[in-house]
Point group: C2
Chain length 131, copies 2
């Protein structure tokens, strides 16, 4: 199907086609898997795990002085906060000059549930690897 498209186009726009092809193949993974992977990805950096832990400890919704707690510059921490926000695990509320970040407890619960489900499905005890 992707192949068909290629035949209709000439070489000048080949790079564009290859790009589209790349997307086509990428899209072959189910939306569900991609979604699942995205959440795992959000948790794939110690800084982001650290941020989540910090937000859980300081129950009050705390501003960007989280940066002072981490061995990273403020802008870098900000970047990580943004990623967590984009995936919905935390929420940021502007309050004057400051921004209060806090955990989205529900989102975390939901992710926990789906992660458990995914990992649970893998645990089939009939697998005997080293026979």
């Amino acid at each position: 199907m992707g192949r068909f498209v290629v035949h209709l186009l000439d070489k000048h726009i080949k790079s564009k086609v290859q790009y589209d092809m790349a997307n086509l193949t990428k899209n072959t993974f189910s939306a569900d898997l991609i979604r699942q992977a995205k959440f795992f990805k959000a948790l794939s950096h110690p800084a982001r795990l650290s941020i989540l832990q910090y937000l859980a400890e300081t129950k009050t919704c705390i501003t960007g002085d989280i940066a002072d707690e981490l061995p990273l510059s403020r802008t870098t921490v900000n970047q990580h906060l943004k990623e967590l926000k984009e995936v919905g695990l935390i929420v940021g509320t502007v309050e004057g000059v400051k921004t209060n970040y806090c955990l989205n407890t529900q989102a975390i619960k939901d992710f926990k549930t789906s992660a458990i489900s995914f990992l649970g499905d893998l645990n089939i005890d009939t697998i005997n690897c080293k026979k």
Copy 2:
């Protein structure tokens, strides 16, 4: 401490120093968090999730024809298999020309446990974000 080192060195090797500094700061995250993040990272790509699911379905330990199931080239799939193997979630056993891959059920269980623990610690219901 890192700062101290910098003062002793001259500019010529500044880039090296910055590299070391980077490592120093990186090491400030606890080994535990780094480990945790590594596992999440292993699951941060749909191809790798897909591989795990495939291995769970085809209970028998199956060879690299996993590649035929995925929208990726054999070498790319091999790369993903390698990553899963490095983090210990799967095991590869050479059998003649072929290599049998299979799930490391115990490792998956262990990861599941630690992930649940990590995510559970974040779920403190006293957090009220939007007051």
